[in-house]
């Protein structure tokens, strides 16, 4: 059953982290406290970073920690704490579009599973994957993927300009 090219340790690690992530993701939407939900989201995002480490993509893992845990989640918490700072359970957190949301989530899951399956199929990771160095990643970004990178930069620039316009009073 266990072929020699199956990476047992990696798979066990993946299973443990994935279980924690799934539990965390479910708690994000079932907990009745906004700050708790945000902290469960931190668990999910940190789990994603751990999965990147398992895939020998350390640069992406560090970026995940820096951007999502260090910046995005801090801003999330900052925002919720400035606006609704109650401690304890809240009752009216469920959105009336709940079932539509579940439908979208399931559709997205199926679509991504099919896409990944048709792309990689039964392809396996090498037993000792070479860690992608920062230099290789930058060569990719500023080489073949330069145009998407520019496009993304413009999206971010538009967001920044929009934020300034919203924040200005005059």
């Amino acid at each position: 059953m266990f072929a020699s090219d199956v990476l047992v340790a990696q798979n066990i690690g993946f299973a443990i982290i994935a279980t924690i992530m799934v539990i965390g993701a479910l708690r994000v939407v079932t907990t009745n406290n906004v700050v708790h939900a945000a902290l469960w989201l931190v668990v999910v995002l940190a789990g994603a970073a751990a999965q990147y480490v398992l895939l020998a993509a350390e640069f992406v893992a560090i970026t995940q920690v820096l951007v999502y845990i260090g910046a995005v989640m801090v801003l999330f918490l900052f925002g919720t704490m400035l606006t609704r700072t109650r401690i304890g359970a809240e009752s009216d957190l469920n959105n009336k579009n709940l079932f539509f949301g579940i439908f979208v989530a399931l559709t997205l899951f199926v679509a991504m599973a099919m896409a990944l399956n048709s792309e990689f199929g039964s392809e396996k990771m090498p037993a000792n994957p070479a860690v992608a160095t920062t230099q290789e990643i930058s060569d990719q970004i500023f080489g073949p993927y330069l145009l998407p990178f520019w496009a993304l930069s413009f999206v971010l620039l538009a967001a920044v300009v929009g934020a300034i316009v919203l924040a200005r009073r005059d």
């Binding site: 700050v35 640069f59 920690v65 820096l66 801090v74 920062t134």
Partner: protein
């Protein structure tokens, strides 16, 4: 068989892991204790024309143990309306961030926890995790002062993380690597204008980056003049108001251990780290370094750390606090443009030479 060859021997995995855990504890607690005794107890007292602790041990050197004992035996209390689990979790997140940070610091040619390819980037990423702990500590305390302190801390740490990252970019461009060990090697193997007696510590060529980095470190550590999050005259004690006993102790250790670890990172990035200039002993590459550097290296790094912490504490005890808007303006309108200009100049010079 001398000690140096023992350290470079091949150990089984469990022994290596055990050594790493012990080393991590030492590398976090020793700087914290040294910083608190040397600077918080003694230097501050001398600057204020008093003696500081004198009773416990010679020159009060055992005072630290007395303090820790006092904190440990205090009752573990929390506010009635606090969110208890998060209240207890918060100091641990702050301390965990410190332990994660020390992992990438190289202490000698072989004396390191991990040889991380993207070491600088990793250090900057995990140092931002402590914001999370501070923020939820402020929220879970169910106290207006705590919440204000937590929010101020978050705003400040996010604002000063940017100049810190940008200041380090200059060093990364000049060294051509993000690996902290290789940054040390690059500084000590290199020469300045043909003169190799001092190596090439980046504090000289990256002076602007060094200044910006140290100001950002001062702000990240929330030391005066950047101590708005715990401003005692405005917010009682900010996000730490409701903490007492060993939970306060964890925050306290976290604060000063992080000061030590950040100073170590500053020494590695700008002052040549654990090494002496390679030309002194005729070394050329990292493999040709003698094994005794594994013993001497940590001591050199520790000395440099104490010098850097001295400057942090000197500023801390000398200047009054900024106002909140001055703090934000200083980060966004002065430090970030200056460090961006530094990156541009460094990149141009790197390509030109």
């Amino acid at each position: 068989m001398n000690l140096a060859s023992v350290l470079s021997a091949d150990l089984p995995y469990w022994a290596q892991s055990l050594l790493r855990v012990l080393g991590g504890l030492v590398a976090v607690l020793l700087p914290a204790g040294t910083v608190v005794y040397l600077f918080l107890f003694k230097m501050m007292s001398f600057m204020q024309s008093r003696l500081g602790p004198m009773e416990a041990g010679p020159q009060g050197s055992m005072q630290l143990f007395a303090e820790v004992g006092k904190w440990l035996q205090k009752e573990d209390i929390y506010p009635a309306r606090a969110d208890k689990f998060i209240f207890k979790l918060a100091p641990l997140i702050v301390l965990a961030s410190t332990f994660l940070l020390v992992v990438v610091v190289p202490f000698g040619p072989d004396a390191l926890f991990t040889d991380f390819e993207a070491g600088v980037f990793y250090a900057l990423a995990v140092s931002s995790v402590s914001v999370l702990g501070i923020l939820i500590a402020g929220w879970a305390s169910a106290n207006k002062y705590s919440l204000l302190g937590g929010l101020r801390a978050a705003g400040q740490l996010i604002a000063y993380e940017l100049p810190m990252v940008l200041a380090v970019v200059g060093v990364v461009i000049q060294a051509g690597t993000m690996n902290l060990q290789q940054i040390v090697v690059a500084q000590n193997a290199d020469s300045m204008f043909g003169f190799s007696g001092l190596g090439n510590p980046y504090v000289i060529t990256q002076f602007v980056g060094f200044i910006v980095f140290m100001i950002a470190v001062q702000a990240e550590l929330t030391q005066t003049p950047f101590d708005m999050p715990i401003a005692e005259s405005e917010l009682v004690s900010g996000y730490m108001t409701e903490y007492s006993g060993f939970r306060f102790l964890i925050f306290f250790i976290g604060e000063f251990a992080t000061a030590g670890v950040f100073s170590m990172i500053a020494s590695v990035l700008f002052l040549g780290g654990w090494s002496v200039p390679f030309s002194w002993f005729g070394w050329t590459t990292i493999d040709s370094i003698d094994n005794w550097m594994n013993i001497v290296g940590p001591l050199i790094l520790f000395t440099k750390m104490i010098i850097v912490v001295f400057f942090i504490m000197w500023v801390r005890f000398s200047y009054p606090r900024f106002r909140e808007d001055q703090l934000q303006k200083f980060a966004w309108k002065v430090l970030i443009p200056v460090s961006l200009a530094n990156i541009m100049v460094t990149a141009i010079l790197k390509v030109a030479f």
